[in-house]
């Protein structure tokens, strides 16, 4: 009997780790309890990742000229590590969180919904005055009810189409004239035949969650998403099936290289010139310049072709935001920093110069840097390409708190299509049904 108890106890041991980090974060992170601290005094910590962290760090001396009393420490937590770290902190009722948190649009609704009070309401601190300062759709993202402001927008990334102009030229295809993705697939066949390069690359086994980025872009170009604005599941909508079918057609024609392994594979593919097109959002231009500086002049950028003839070529595919932890004792000082970084055009211009990170702050685009010809991109005015997309009418997308679950099911479905030739309509329907069962949301058909 003792042995039996021992065996069960050993099994129970596996439970411990989880509980230590669980909870609702309701009480301790209650947020607005206690003073917000002073607006120009205090010691604050900022969590971000790689490029943006470096840019914020560079802004600190300037910030300190205006606010000498605030000591800022910017920490590069890394992406995707930062999401686990923020989740753990929020689940622990705000314990150990930084004062300022950099959060992607894919995580923001989940954090807000699952950890009420985990993020401070920025409206009382003065965020409301910037309601109209940002690209359209942004305010709805950070303030869904129009009252509470969960964060302030930073990046607004539009769908882009970075391409190797030299490869297109060799294949005798005019990249600028491509109107639809169907035409692009035909062009891809020419490129493959004449240069050996693939049209584009996808992380086929979905080793990272962002393996579905391209699928999502095709979806958003059609104004569609995983959920509608009412929160119903639209994972197997005609738009969705169309997007997955395009991917399958490309793959079946041998035009898709495998980027298994995620970011590292993407970088080595970029350096080796495996693919002629990188269907990536605004910020990726900076990465290309950084990774293959010797290829200056060979690259160009345009907005992606439409999914259906005459359809939209503009979509805001993602955005990032700065939020203040609800449990922070220096919320006012943290707000001062956010305000300095995000609402002052000079800060955003400097960040754009440094890493090509596109601001959501519309006034920043008045600066000449967005209208200069880029030597790397063959003398193109890259900033204007994306500004055009940002100004185009673009619907808001509802990420909901269940985005992570939806994304997981989508990447699984995509892997089935790419690795074993599954039928797009069938796998998407299965995914939608399963998401419905998991989340209790209605599948809209």
């Amino acid at each position: 009997m003792l042995r039996t108890v021992g065996a069960i106890a050993a099994g129970a041991g596996s439970l411990g780790a989880l509980t230590a980090c669980s909870g609702t974060g309701g009480e301790a992170a209650g947020g607005q309890a206690g003073a917000a601290g002073e607006k120009d005094k205090g010691r604050i910590t900022v969590w971000s990742w790689q490029g943006p962290a470096a840019e914020m760090k560079a802004l600190v001396p300037e910030f300190n000229k205006k606010y000498p009393g605030i000591e800022v420490t910017v920490e590069d937590i890394g992406n995707p590590a930062i999401w686990d770290k923020i989740t753990t902190g929020l689940a622990a009722g705000g314990q150990g969180l930084a004062d300022v948190l950099h959060i992607g649009v894919d995580y923001l609704p989940g954090y807000v919904e699952k950890f009420p009070g985990g993020l401070a309401d920025l409206a009382p601190l003065g965020a409301d005055t910037y309601r109209d300062a940002f690209a359209q759709g942004m305010w709805q993202t950070v303030s869904p009810d129009g009252k509470r402001v969960n964060a302030l927008p930073w990046e607004a990334n539009s769908a882009g189409f970075y391409y190797r102009a030299d490869l297109f030229e060799k294949a005798g295809v005019d990249a600028g004239a491509l109107q639809t993705w169907e035409e692009t697939i035909e062009a891809g066949k020419e490129i493959k035949a004449k240069t050996g390069a693939h049209l584009l690359g996808i992380d086929k086994p979905a080793s990272q969650a962002d393996a579905a980025n391209f699928f999502q872009m095709l979806l958003q170009l059609q104004g569609a998403f995983y959920f509608d604005l009412g929160g119903n599941i639209t994972l197997d909508s005609p738009e969705s099936v169309k997007a997955m079918t395009l991917i399958k057609t490309m793959n079946d024609a041998g035009l898709v290289s495998d980027l298994a392994g995620g970011w590292n594979a993407l970088m080595s593919s970029l350096k080796q010139g495996t693919a002629a097109v990188l269907p990536m959002p605004t910020w990726f231009g900076g990465i290309i310049e950084e990774q293959v500086p010797q290829e200056a002049g060979k690259w160009k950028v345009r907005l992606p072709p439409a999914v259906r003839r005459g359809g939209s070529t503009a979509a805001t595919v993602n955005s990032t935001h700065l939020a203040v932890a609800g449990g922070s004792k220096h919320r006012a000082a943290a707000w001062s920093f956010i305000e300095f970084v995000l609402t002052r055009p000079a800060s955003q211009v400097r960040i754009y110069r440094g890493k090509g990170i596109a601001p959501a702050l519309m006034r920043a685009y008045e600066d000449a840097v967005f209208h200069e010809p880029s030597a790397f991109f063959g003398g193109q005015k890259k900033g204007e390409v994306f500004l055009e997309a940002l100004k185009a009418p673009s619907p808001a997308f509802n990420y909901t708190a269940d985005y992570a679950r939806a994304l997981k099911l989508v990447t699984d479905a995509q892997s089935k299509v790419l690795l074993s030739g599954a039928d797009p309509a069938k796998v998407l329907k299965e995914a939608a049904d399963q998401l419905g069962r998991q989340t209790g949301r209605k599948v809209s058909r």
Binding site: A7, I8, S14, L18, G25, G110, P116, A206, L419
Partner: protein
């Protein structure tokens, strides 16, 4: 048969002397109650830590498993989370994957470990300590570090393994990107990591098997194989039971390797229960459901542990 009087007399005297001795020492130093309490005082800190960091979380996790977070507050839902398990295809996939690893990898690893232990025990081997260290070393390697090393080694396009198999004319294998190969890779990584550890446990036991038994077997005309079957294996039984149970528990909880190597993919081919618990808790913020999965796992481990003790334990 000795008569009761002769048998009990000396023992009574011994007991009497013992009591007197204890009493004498007891009164000389400190009261009896203090002596009784002393061991409990010594284990108290460990007990308190155990209660705070093991017992409490285990209990709390059960409470959480009966709740669901709705709009930021916990709502009691009874056994809903457990009912959900039964209809969750991903849970069953995870369970199946874990079972496959358990059924294939654990026996292979323990067989290897046994062979290794016998080899490392052999006096014919020079520099035994170096070999023992070499095989044990993977155990102290950080889980994430070795996961990353394996993912580099097994990379389809740039990995060392495919480069080597390429030298002998084999096509590159999609180690981490094909559902079947991903399982194989996971098994390889696990075997590399834990074989030496199990071999060391088996080796320790092996060294307590009396040499006379081998001499006796040799006299009876047993060759090396018979000696292994009839002396070594029975001698190893308790250690084999221990390693089997430890490996079973370890395998059922396996998390690090699939998390780092494959992320549970492709298409959930390497999704284990551990990874699924993690995803539900930290990716989907569904702590109630994650706790329910963890409890299902704990019960499963308990049941398997009992079965293993029944089968392997009783004959010892």
């Amino acid at each position: 048969m000795t008569s009761p009087s002769t048998a009990s007399a000396p023992s009574a005297t011994r007991a009497g002397r013992g009591v007197r001795a204890v009493a004498a020492r007891g009164t000389a130093r400190r009261p009896r109650a203090g002596r009784r309490a002393a061991p409990y005082l010594f284990v108290l800190p460990a007990l308190l830590l155990f209660a705070a960091f093991k017992l409490y979380p285990i209990g709390r996790s059960f409470v959480i498993s009966l709740h669901k977070t709705v709009g930021g507050s916990d709502r009691f839902v009874g056994a809903d989370n457990y009912a959900r398990l039964l209809h969750d295809p991903l849970f069953w996939t995870a369970l199946k994957n874990t079972a496959v690893i358990l059924a294939v990898q654990v026996p292979v690893m323990l067989a290897l470990a046994t062979g290794l232990a016998v080899a490392l025990d052999s006096t014919a081997l020079r520099a035994r300590a170096v070999f023992r260290l070499g095989f044990f070393l993977p155990m102290v390697t950080g889980l994430v570090a070795y996961g990353i090393v394996f993912s580099v080694l097994l990379n389809k396009d740039y990995g060392l393994v495919n480069w080597l198999t390429g030298l002998v004319g084999l096509d590159p294998s999609p180690w981490l990107t094909d559902p079947l190969w991903a399982k194989v890779s996971l098994g390889l990584a696990l075997t590399w990591h834990y074989t030496g550890y199990n071999a060391v446990i088996l080796l320790a036991r092996l060294q307590s098997v009396p040499a006379e038994l081998y001499d006796a077997a040799a006299v009876d005309g047993a060759g090396p194989w018979h000696a292994f079957r009839h002396v070594t294996l029975p001698g190893l039984r308790p250690a084999l039971l221990l390693t089997t149970v430890l490996s079973t528990i370890g395998t059922l909880q396996i998390f690090d390797e699939p998390y780092v190597l494959t992320g549970g993919g492709p298409d959930n081919a390497t999704l284990t229960i551990g990874v699924y618990v993690y995803q539900n808790a930290f990716k989907y913020f569904d702590f109630g459901y994650a706790s329910a999965i963890a409890y299902a796992l704990a019960v499963l481990i308990g049941i398997l542990g009992v079965i293993q003790f029944r089968f392997l334990g009783e004959k010892s």
